[in-house]
Symmetry: C2
Subunit: 631 residues, 2 copies
């Protein structure tokens, strides 16, 4: 039985959003995020860095990670062009590609910093200098340009660079591990579109050599021997296949294990897959915020220990880490077919990822706090307001490429099976290897609404597997009015039929607003509840409350009631009215005192977490106090 | 009206503990802490550093802060000898002094690192290299040796060093600010015992020049211009007299303002005093843990923002910071006579300070967490277990000198007034300038017990001012059986009498176990209570509970009940029995779930916070969840 069970079609045009949340967010990306990040890439000198004309003393010195930003925006441009032809954008795309390709050295090497600034330091410090990370992002951009637009120029260029890496790194050649992983999953993409085994072998080398003895970073003298913090920080504390917990820098860890999952699948490496599964389970059950945010500590932007998930000033939950978790989930879902991966994927996508970008499409969070209060010091980036750009601008550029390609998470396919992961409003057309075509129109407004209709648009015989989400306790599936399933979620429901044009399926996912508790080992959430409806995590902003959210106590005996979205937020995203008490501000200025706070009845409007901070600065909380801690 | 209202007698032998908490802790210091820290000082090479024989390549290279550790232990040895003559210890004391003095350079300079290791870098980096900090601690040790033991050798030596500083720093000479303050309060001590104005003037210079423009640390090129974090970190973001909040490194801030208060008092500088008062109020009402711990963030060991007082992994509350707060309080109490300074002093002494050292006297906390759980990552120093020593061992050495001299906090005097701050078990003998003698025996077991007896042991006419603590809502004072006061605390009660031998006063301080709430702006404590009895903060250890303290919910409708101290803890320290519920551990391994935790009735034994972690490793919490958050 092959390790890889399902695959995501290479041609992302097989799914096209037709309305609702993801269509809206993608439209904003096309209209705003892509132009905004392109402008920043140009304005900051990141694009012109490829001219290689920087000289000492000049401004805009190419930074070691700049190429990755340019590559990610370029990948986003490819995604945008695939969704909506735009001659001006395409011309600009071609200009960027020409510029990038022009910077390639005769031996295939391609990096602005280590060509224009410190050419003598090529591959001298893999631990710190993001060289292979930049290469990985250029490869991803090249693969996107080829698969989405059919453009080969950048792909050929990056193949030459990859060939150079193949000639340089590996057994019998130079040892080397990237300090910031990314090259692994990129080489696997390159392998898949080119079929060239050497890219698979190099990815395999990077995954398999990492963390083995002798320790390359100690040999490279970038890490002190015994510096366990540094080793865990970049996942070199043990061979990758001996890593069973998520450690260190969250983005790096997820990029690594996404790449490792690719390698495991392509090489039928059961042992490596088991490590991936263990790391995922550690994330899912111990180290993941309810939003799919990852990284409990701003210092090191990293995982810490099991159940250490504080909500405020300390936390990180970098936007890129949630995006990376989606990558990892997608690969594991295809490898195993297990529904739990889709649960984490959609939790992360609808909450942790989308919170990172404003509704306007041009403001970004680096850190995604679950609690914001003016009395909490935000240690890493000052006030929690989305910003246009960052010196280290990985998050904005990640959104540029993520949002324009997120239709890839809607479904996967097997030989004669189409697995619908996200029943969002979408049109799907997939042709199986046997020639049979699945063509479907999904509507209903998921994830904000739970009544999904699936219209069959073309005759065909295949298995349509509907995901019944793990959060759903009561799912009902009907085919042409006939009930074929009623029960709990947490699985895929395979429906094998000769489907006819005009067939209609309905998927009813009961989706009440609910109070969610946290494992009490997470001390910070003890006695608190979060509010979810389906896969959507809610929060309460102080804005609109008659007091501060820190003083609001929700009465968990009164279920949340659906309410219209407040002004300024998309009207299809229902709010939830919560009932409870508001503690009255202390009249004393004392810090510590004897006495009981007075309370008054109060309602609060909870909104989807991904939409917070779109109507002006405000305090906010996901985990709410309750009127009775044990009630 | 002079700025300085009261003073602490120079001769600490005027008060002598006779029993109870402070006597016990001091006895442990004599028996264990002093020998243990002496041994470590020798073993680590800190003492032998004064031989100036270190050569490149050898181990035990004198570190820039080593001299301060040796000085603090030496100061502790002087304190110990004053309490209990010990010829062997005295010989060792003299040997240390000889060794230290032998390292003095012909020009008076005295520093092991910048003589033996980097002589060319003398005063080259005041920002980072602790040179003046080391000098300050040597001065403090010298003053203690002189005032407690009458030994002049080290004092004369440090006067020569101070004279050298006077010739080097100041207006028209070199500018300079210490990166780590300490020299200011030390020079003020030297000024007080020698009467030499130049030491006052140099202290005044260090306080008044600090933070003025042009910014010395920018001139010194140790701080980036505009690096506001660095400027606040060492209190150079504004002139000291324009600082009204407690910023940056907590120990540095408190040492600075202790010295600034000294300078304000000695120079009748009302403006400087107002800055000290503002900083103190900011600490007291916004930035102080309930234990008197200071510093909410391990990164920078620093103050953060108002009401940012998280309890666990993030916090610092360095033992030295609480010790420094006691220093600051003592000075402000003498300057102003206001009772609130004594409140913070005793809160800090009985809780934040004493928690930092084990009952065995040879184990120390650097960080004093208010919440410990195995699921919280302790970012700064790993597991929360007291340790014998640290590479940077400021805390253990601070205990060596603090514990042997803490009788200085018991009372202050005015012209004909004795103000009893801490009614602990103590014998006091003070002779006023007019020849009148106050001789008193205080008993009752304070702070663990609230019925204090004060026996007059000698005839005399003076004002005895009894402190009625701010935490006490019902204080009763009787003189020879006659009630002279009944009412709330928060003041001093002056009793002017011709006192006769055999007079007996009783001070009844009602001291119920109480639930304390925190200003709700401290989001982390919202809905939680702490338990105090008098000035003593309690905590609950998981050890002894049938579950984890994170799952214990206290019922605040049931007052704490006195209970015998648990085995292993001093029998005079009552425990408090709390009633409530214990949440049953989740049966699911899920991180997030729908459902309500089951509860079962449960009692918990709270013990004084200062005694926690003396019976083996355990989880612990000061701020407890409640059965009803709004009840």
């Amino acid at each position: 039985m092959p390790l890889v069970k399902y695959s995501t079609p290479t041609d992302l045009k097989e799914a096209r959003f037709t309305g609702g949340l993801l269509a809206r967010r993608q439209q904003i990306a096309l209209d705003t995020t892509i132009p905004a990040t392109m402008a920043k890439t140009i304005e900051t000198g990141r694009l012109d860095a490829f001219r290689l004309t920087w000289r000492p003393g000049q401004p805009k010195k190419p930074h070691v990670f700049w190429d990755s930003d340019t590559a990610k925006v370029l990948e986003g441009m490819a995604g945008a062009l695939a969704l909506r032809p735009d001659p001006a954008l395409e011309a600009e795309y071609d200009r960027w590609v020409d510029l990038i390709v022009s910077a390639q050295q005769p031996d295939g090497y391609l990096n602005t910093h280590f060509t224009a600034v410190e050419p003598e330091k090529r591959f001298a410090n893999l631990h710190d200098w993001h060289e292979l990370y930049c290469c990985g992002h250029l490869i991803e951009a090249a693969v996107a340009g080829y698969t989405l637009l059919g453009k080969r120029k950048l792909l050929d260029c990056l193949c030459r660079y990859a060939d150079y890496l193949v000639s340089y790194f590996g057994p019998g050649k130079h040892r080397g591990w990237p300090g910031h992983e990314e090259i692994e999953l990129a080489l696997m993409k390159l392998y898949r579109v080119t079929g060239k085994e050497q890219y698979l072998e190099l990815a395999q080398y990077f995954v398999n050599d990492r963390g083995t003895e002798p320790h390359f970073f100690i040999e490279e003298e970038q890490t002190q021997a015994g510096g366990s913090w540094h080793c865990t920080q970049n996942q070199t504390h043990a061979p990758v296949r001996r890593q069973f917990t998520a450690e260190g820098h969250a983005v790096r860890a997820m990029y690594l294990f996404a790449g490792a999952a690719d390698v495991a699948g392509a090489t039928d490496d059961q042992e490596l897959l088991q490590a991936c599964e263990a790391v995922f389970e550690n994330v899912r059950t111990r180290r993941m915020y309810i939003t799919g945010g990852l990284g409990s500590c701003f210092a090191g932007e990293r995982f810490t220990t099991d159940y250490d998930l504080s909500n405020g000033a300390m936390m990180y939950a970098e936007s890129c880490a949630s995006i990376a978790l989606v990558f990892f989930c997608q690969r594991m879902l295809n490898l195993t077919g297990e529904e739990k991966y889709a649960d984490v994927l959609e939790r992360t996508l609808f909450n942790g990822v989308l919170a990172g970008i404003s509704l306007s499409g041009d403001r970004f969070f680096y850190t995604n706090y679950l609690e914001v209060d003016e009395n909490l010091c935000c240690y890493n980036d000052g006030s929690p307001v989305r910003k246009e750009w960052f010196d280290c601008s990985c998050c904005p550029t990640n959104f540029a490429r993520f949002l324009t390609q997120m239709q890839q998470y809607v479904f996967s396919v097997g030989d004669t099976e189409l697995r619908l992961h996200l029943p969002v409003d979408v049109e799907i057309r997939h042709q199986f290897a046997n020639g049979m075509v699945a063509r479907l129109a999904v509507t209903g407004g998921y994830p904000y609404h739970g009544k999904v209709s699936i219209a069959v648009l073309e005759d065909g015989e295949y298995t349509l597997s509907l995901r019944l989400p793990g959060w759903c306790r009561n799912a009902v599936v009907e085919v042409n009015g006939e009930r074929v399933y009623a029960g709990a979620g947490g699985k895929y429901l395979p429906l094998t039929r000769k489907w006819s044009k005009g067939d209609c399926l309905t998927l009813g996912l009961e989706m009440p607003g609910e109070f969610i508790r946290c494992n009490s080992k997470v001390t910070t959430n003890a006695g608190r509840v979060a509010v979810m409806r389906g896969p959507v995590v809610y929060c309460v902003e102080s804005r609109g409350l008659s007091g501060e959210v820190r003083n609001f106590l929700v009465d968990t005996d009164r279920p949340p009631e659906l309410a219209p979205a407040p002004e300024g937020l998309p009207s299809d995203a229902p709010a939830l009215r919560l009932f409870g008490q508001l503690e009255q501000p202390d009249e004393t200025e004392e810090l510590y005192f004897v006495g009981r706070p007075r309370c008054a009845p109060c309602t609060a409007l909870a909104i989807p977490y991904a939409l917070w901070n779109n109507c002006g600065p405000t305090n906010m909380a996901v985990w709410l106090r309750t009127t009775g801690a044990s009630a």
